[in-house]
């Protein structure tokens, strides 16, 4: 079966969605990512959707689910690279991706992840002292 690859980079997982996903593929990605976070102990997930020409309610829900599940597993999710036309359409459709952090591109997204992991370690550290 077709699969979307998940790459591990340090304590983060990277996913680049480059195909027009049918619904089952989107569901599989959600399951695979959740499993990968739990297996690797990843602290962050970066999902690059710059190749996606549309995000409909199904894909939007998948992104929200991934963000929620990874949060429960102590990982932060950031979705990057949304095309402007996709953003306009998504909001008009009625979806604003609540609970999903976004960044303009991969670099900015990595910054968000590094900061959030750094911040939580600082908090943890200060509690120890």
């Amino acid at each position: 079966m077709e699969k979307i690859p998940i790459l591990k980079m340090g304590e983060f997982l990277l996913v680049t969605i480059q195909v027009d996903m049918h619904d089952r593929l989107a569901m599989a990605l959600q399951d695979d990512l959740t499993r990968a976070i739990s297996e690797t102990g990843a602290r962050g997930v970066l999902i690059d959707i710059s190749s996606l020409e549309i995000v409909d309610s199904f894909i939007g829900r998948m992104l929200s689910n991934i963000a929620a599940m990874s949060r429960v597993l102590d990982a932060e999710t950031v979705v990057v690279g949304m095309q402007p036309a996709v953003a306009i359409t998504l909001v008009e459709l009625g979806l604003s991706l609540p609970g999903v952090r976004t960044a303009l591109n991969v670099d900015a997204g990595m910054d968000v992840l590094r900061r959030s992991v750094g911040a939580s370690e600082e908090m943890y550290g200060s509690r120890l002292h």
Binding site: D20, M21, H22, D23, R24, E53, I54, V55, D56, S57, F58, G60, R61, Q83, P84, A85, V86, I88, T89, L90, E92, L93, G94, L95
Partner: protein, 133 residues
Amino acid sequence: MVVVSTENVPVKTEPDVVSVRRRVREVAAQLGLGLVDQTKIITAASELARNTIIYGGGGSMQIETLNGPRVGLRLTFEDQGPGIPDVELALRDGFTTGSGLGLGLGGSKRLVNEFAIVSRPGEGTRITITRWK
């Protein structure tokens, strides 16, 4: 209004949703619709195609390109499913009888210029959307 071309696309199984999106994109681009307009009608088509499969038990989509006086793209989704008992309720955001977000119908209506729905319980549903250039 002049219908320039008509074609039918099956909307029966889940992978057909991807074919619907691809075909609507091709035709919308050929018509010269702007990128945002293309994205809107493709997204609306994706929502309606999924509804046709999940709630209508499968059906078809007709693509028509329109010209004179205006250039536009008209899509008609038709199924012979159970129909929608209360269309007004079904159009409301957040309403769903399935497991979705309940944005499909109301959301797609907002993404197009014209939206028409005819549904008869026990007979099926026909939804027509138009996006003008």
